[in-house]
């Protein structure tokens, strides 16, 4: 089985690759349209800004290729936000696979932004991606923008407001947190993703 990480020009590609390799997966990083389309699993990583990440996909002519993928896709952090229509962070349109726009956390005295650190997954849906996870499991977040709760929400997290920690739209799964940096809980999620049928 071949897993391809989309080379979106974003920063955290190495750690995502290593996390899958620790699980024994065969992983490549690529911005090649053919290679991405033919992969068994596709990862859309993302650290950086919404416009920067979208412009990377546009530059590599990957927008339509990604939208037409039918194999399991996992968007991580910003990569998950790209599934939606846009973001308060930028002016570029998102992939538009799902309805919604990423919103910004309001910075308050007791609520530093970015939302950075280990927070809990709540209201877990019965989805194969989250198999074996307990309510309240801790995962690692680093973000200033979030996808509000909606039809695609698989799990929730609360930081001032309650938002989508994980989403799914058909074959497109997403994690707002970083499973590659979420210790054993994250490894369980990545392993579940590799086993999706």
């Amino acid at each position: 089985m071949k897993t391809v990480i989309v080379n979106s020009g974003c920063a955290n590609i190495a750690s995502v690759k290593f996390a899958f390799e620790r699980l024994g997966a065969n992983v490549n990083v690529s911005s090649d349209l053919q290679e991405i389309s033919k992969a068994d699993r596709v990862i859309l990583p993302g650290v950086g800004t919404f416009d920067f990440a979208m412009s990377g996909l546009i530059k590599n002519q990957l927008i339509n290729a990604i939208k037409s993928l039918s194999q399991p896709v996992l968007g991580i952090c910003l990569g998950m936000q790209l599934y939606f229509e846009g973001s308060a962070e930028g002016v570029t349109q998102g992939l538009g696979l799902a309805k919604g726009i990423a919103d910004k956390f309001l910075s308050e005295p007791n609520l530093p932004v970015p939302h950075m650190g280990w927070n809990q997954l709540e209201n877990l849906s019965d989805d194969p991606l989250l198999k074996g996870l307990d309510e309240g499991s801790y995962v690692y977040f680093v973000h200033s923008y979030f996808i509000p709760l909606g039809e695609t929400t698989l799990a929730e997290t609360t930081y001032g407001t309650t938002f989508s920690a994980s989403v799914r739209k058909e074959n497109f799964w997403g994690c707002q947190f970083h499973p590659e940096r979420s210790s054993d809980v994250g490894a369980t999620i990545l392993n579940n993703f590799l086993k999706l049928s």
Binding site: A11, N12, I13, A14, S15, F18, A19, E21, R22, V47, G48, T49, F52, L78, S107, E108, P109, N110, L111, P112, V113, P114, H115, M116, G117, W118, N119, Q120, Y138, Y140, V142, H143, S144, T158, Y159, H178, E180, R181, S182, S183, D184, G186, A187
Partner: protein, 255 residues
């Protein structure tokens, strides 16, 4: 709920983990990968690696060990030391670092913070602040990795903390130099002052000696995490026991 972070800091010099007292007289305490793995297994929430010679030497950290750490660890880590260009930063991220921290280069050219944030996003840019109290005022020091080159920067700590947040930095690590390495507890007063001056995550550094110091910093200040080095390196405090202790005291801590 967001948990408070326990962050072991590994000061790296010439590829080894070292620890000095108040930034001087460094002794080797161990191998980077071994210590990093041990801390991760014990429940550390994040790791920070400071290459303490790089900034003062005008060199940047070697990315080989960054890569090796990223390969092994499944928790986030931040690297610091002499990052002076977007290219320097990009290399660290490509090697697998989750965050980078800058200190002296930000003081030399504050616009560098904005440039890093524009390229990599706020969430991955940390600004380290070395600060010392004198006569009730808090002042910034730079080039603290080398005692002979260390100098007072002409800046007030609270103003600088506010400025780095305005420039888009995603986190501040406040190293209270009066407390560093002496294990008498975190500088709660200074941390509270800086907490009030900014709305980005704040990490306490300098002074941890006993488990109750961590309890104090989490109950008496609103910091997001506490960083410590020697108490972990010298096995005075075990991270797993510390986390259990803090949970029993009602601090929100990841098991």
């Amino acid at each position: 709920m967001l948990s408070k972070r326990i962050i072991p800091c590994l000061d790296v010099k010439d590829g080894k983990v070292v620890k000095g007292v108040q930034f001087k007289n460094h002794e080797i305490v161990g191998d980077i990968l071994n210590l990093a793995e041990r801390y991760s297994n014990e429940g550390a929430d994040e790791l920070v690696f400071y290459d303490i010679t790089a900034s003062a030497d005008g060199t940047t950290i070697n990315t080989n060990w960054v890569n090796a750490v990223a390969e092994k660890l499944a928790i986030p880590f931040c690297v610091a030391g002499g990052i002076r260009s977007l290219e320097d930063a990009a290399k660290r991220f490509e090697s697998g670092a989750d965050k980078i921290s800058i200190n002296s280069p930000a003081l030399e050219r504050p616009d560098f913070i904005n440039e890093l944030v524009a390229a990599f996003g706020s969430q991955s840019i940390v600004v380290g602040i070395d600060s010392k109290e004198r006569d009730g005022n808090y002042s910034i020091y730079q080039y603290t990795g080398r005692p002979d080159q260390m100098q007072k920067a002409n800046r007030n700590t609270l103003d600088w903390a506010h400025e780095v947040a305005e420039r888009g930095a995603g986190e501040i690590v406040l190293n209270c130099m009066n407390q560093d390495g002496v294990r008498k507890g975190y500088d709660l007063r200074q941390l509270n002052a800086v907490r009030d001056a900014t709305t980005i995550p704040l990490i306490a550094s300098g002074g941890a000696g006993q488990m109750c110091h961590f309890q104090d910093v989490f109950t008496d200040t609103n910091v997001d995490g506490a960083l410590a080095a020697s108490v972990f390196h010298k096995e005075i405090i075990s991270i797993s026991e510390l986390k259990l202790f803090l949970r029993q005291k009602g601090v929100r801590i990841r098991p």
